[in-house]
Symmetry: C2
Subunit: 132 residues, 2 copies
């Protein structure tokens, strides 16, 4: 119960992800979104991130949109000095839904399984050029 979920990413992506998750049943007010905009540097972004961390929670789960991107790097930087922080990279809608709809904190093993279940899949085309 004492878990904060943050959603970090480029531009409007984190806000849109959370808004879309709410269209499919995710509760409002359960995640904090923080977008990086053109002109924002990592130093300012780390400051913004530190400002929204809740002092009293026991676990902080920071989801980021892109491994290696600035929001992810900021999350990893903050993680080094805050032992409460787990980071999940390369978030997508099914994974966010799973994280927001689970009542309790997720164990590390459950997080890894959620990532696995949310992975992208290909349903290939049935034929070449000459379609129906």
């Amino acid at each position: 119960m004492s878990r904060q979920v943050l959603l970090l990413g480029h531009g409007d992506l984190p806000a849109a992800l959370y808004s879309s998750a709410q269209m499919i049943g995710a509760p409002a007010g359960r995640a904090t979104v923080l977008g990086l905009y053109p002109g924002d540097g990592i130093t300012e972004f780390v400051e913004q991130l530190r400002e929204v961390l809740e002092p009293a929670v026991q676990e902080i789960l920071i989801c980021t949109d892109l491994a290696g991107g600035t929001p992810n790097n900021a999350a990893r930087y903050v993680q080094k000095t805050d032992a409460r922080v787990s980071v999940v990279t390369n978030i997508n809608l099914p994974l966010l839904l799973e994280l927001l709809l689970s009542e309790d904190e997720l164990s590390n093993a459950a997080l890894v399984e959620a990532c696995e279940l949310a992975r992208a899949e290909v349903i290939p085309a049935s034929g070449a050029t000459e379609g129906e």
Copy 2:
């Protein structure tokens, strides 16, 4: 070269995904976005989708935000009658970047590999409650 990329999802998510991809170098004008909004039914959404399919292209790659969601179901429905259509579910930012930055059409094997590389990962917290 003769490939159309579509990005389907709930609400503003597809537009935000593409906009964020462009912040990181994806070219403008390479993907068509289509959002499902509250009140839209699958029938209307399938119609909207058919209207944006380009008649002359040889391959159509439809990326959707959520396996089992309405945008995905619409894509699968259209796929049944158009042999040019491949569907990629559970899209995220790194996967979209890979699809948009590849110059050529991707083989099915390359698509599967791109999904694998874009999967979410967990970097667990270093310790329990008492941070620092």
